[in-house]
Amino acid sequence: MSARTAAAPARVARPVSWRRPVNTALRYALLGVILIFAVFPFVWTLAIALTDKTAGSSIYAFPQSLLPRRVTLHNFVDVYRTFSLGKYLWNSVVITGLTVLGTLLVSALAAYPLARFRFPGRGAIFGLIVLTLVLPGETTFIVNTLTLKNLGLLGTHAGVVLPTIAGAFGIFLMRQAFLAIPAALLEAARLDGASELTILTRIMLPLTRPSLAALGIFTTVTTWNAYFWPMLVLSGAPDKAPLAVAVLKLKGQFNYDPFNIAAGSIIMMLPVLLVFLAAQRLFLRGMEGAVK
C-alpha cells in the first residue's frame, strides 16, 4: 500500500478519487483468484497428506477435508515404509545427480573451445548444435530405446541419463558465459604456462559460477520431474524407477490409499520447491534466457 501511494505522485499527478482503493482491491481479488487456481491442487494435497486417516474421514468431504481436524505426520512414515519410498527417492537422487554432473561437464567442455578458439570446422559444429534446436525429434525416442537395448543399457540409470546430457541449451549458456570473460585474463595465464585444462578449471569455471548454478538448477528441476523418458527406459526395471514414475505406480496399486499418495507427492515436490524458492531469480532469468 505505502509503496504504491508513495510512488504514484512522483510519476503523474492524478486527481484522487474513489477509484483507486477500489482498483487496488479489485487487483488483489483477481490476484487471489488466480492464486487459488495455481496452488489449490498443492494445498489440497498437503491437507490430505496431513489428515489422520484413522479418523475415517473421506478426502472428498468438502470443505472439512481442506482443513484436517486431526493433523498427523503418520502418512509420511507410512508411505515411506509400505511403498519403500526410500528406494524411489534414491533412484531420483542418482538419476538427477548423474544428469546434472554430466550436463555441466559436457556443456562446459564443449563450450570452451566454441567460445575461445578458432579451429577448422568450428562453424559447422556450432551449426550442427543449433540444428538440434530446430529439428523436431518426434521419433527419436523409438530409436533411442533400440540403441540402449543394443548397448545393454535399457533398464539402467545410465540409459536414462546418457541421452539427455548433451544439449544445445547447456552448451549455449556456457558459451555465452565464457565469451564474457576478458581475453587478457587468459593471455596472462597462458604466459604463466598454464595448460588449457587448468585455465578451464581454475579460471573459467570459477568465474562462470552463476551460469553453472543456473544450468545446474534448471537441469535438477527438469530431471527430477521427468516422466516419459525414465518411464520408457525403466519400464522393464520398475525397481530402478525414479519417484516421478513410481508415484503413478503407487496410484495404480491395488490398495489405493489417497493419504499415502498425497504424502508421497509432497515428499516428491519438496526438493524441487525448495530449489526453486532458493534460486527463484536465477531460475526465472534462465527461463527467459532459454527463449531469447
Partner: protein
Amino acid sequence: MQVHWRQSLMSYTFLAPALILLAVFTFYPLLYGAYLGFTEYSGARFANHLPPQWVGLRNFETVLGDPLFRTALANSVKYLLVVPALQLASLAVAVLVAKNIPGIALFRAAYYVPVITSVSLAAVMWEWVFNREGTLNWLLKALHLTTPEAAFGWLNSEHWAFWAVMLVTFWRGFGYYMVLYLAGLQAIPEELEEAAILDGASAWQRFWRVTVPLMRPTILLCTLLSTIAALRVLEEVLVLTNGGPLNSTYTALMYVYAKAFQGFDFDYGVASAAGLVVALVALLLSALNFRFFHREEQA
C-alpha cells in the same frame, strides 16, 4: 587465419563427449527414425531378429488411412488451436503482476510453481479435482450449477476429458508464458505509458493501444511456442487418460507412442511413419515461427 594444430586438437578433444553423445542420441535417431518410417519393422520381425525391410510409402498409407490416427491428428489440431488461445490469458496475468505492489513477488512465484511440477504429480492432484466426488463438482454444486445426481468424473467423460486435459496443460504453462510476457512488459519504455495517461487514456485503452501493439513480438513468440508445445502433447494425455475414454483424448504423439510401445502388435515402422508426419507439421510450425521472428527483429 593461421591454424594452430595443437589448439585444434585440444578443441576437438574438449568437444568430443558432446559430439559423440549428440551423434548417437540425437542425429542418428533422427536419421534412422526417418528411415524406419519407410520400412516394415513390426513386432514379429523384431522378435525374430530380422532387419527392417524397405517398403516405400506403405506405412504412410497405413497411418493416413487409420481412423485412429485421423482422430488423433484432429485432436492435436484442436489442442493446438485452443491451448495457445487460452495461453493469451497469461498476458493479462503478466499485466496484473507487472506493477510493483506489496506482496507481488509472492504471487509471481506462486503462479510459477505449476510450471516446475512433474506431470505425474499434476496427474495425481488433478484427478482428485476431476473426480466424480471431487472439487470441481463440489464447486459446481455450491454454485447451484449441477446436482449431486448429475455429477460425473470429468476424466471419464468422452465429452469433457479432452477439456480437462487441456486445462491441466494450461495450468502447467500459464506461469511460464507469464514470465515471458513480464520480460516483454518490462522492456516497454515507461514514458509511453505516462504519455498515454497524460492524454487521458483509460487503463483499458492503454492496454489495447499501447501494451498490446508493443507486445506483438512477444505475443507472437508465446503463441507459436505454445502451438508447437500443444502439437507435442503426450505426457499429460498418457498420465491422465491414456488416450481414452473412447479415444477422445488421443493425440498424434500418443499414437506414435502407442504404436511403438503399447500392446503386442507393436510396429516401429508405422510408429516412425506417424512420427514423421507429426515432425513435418512441427517443422512447418517452427519454420513459421522463425519467419515471423526474423521479420519482427528486422522491423
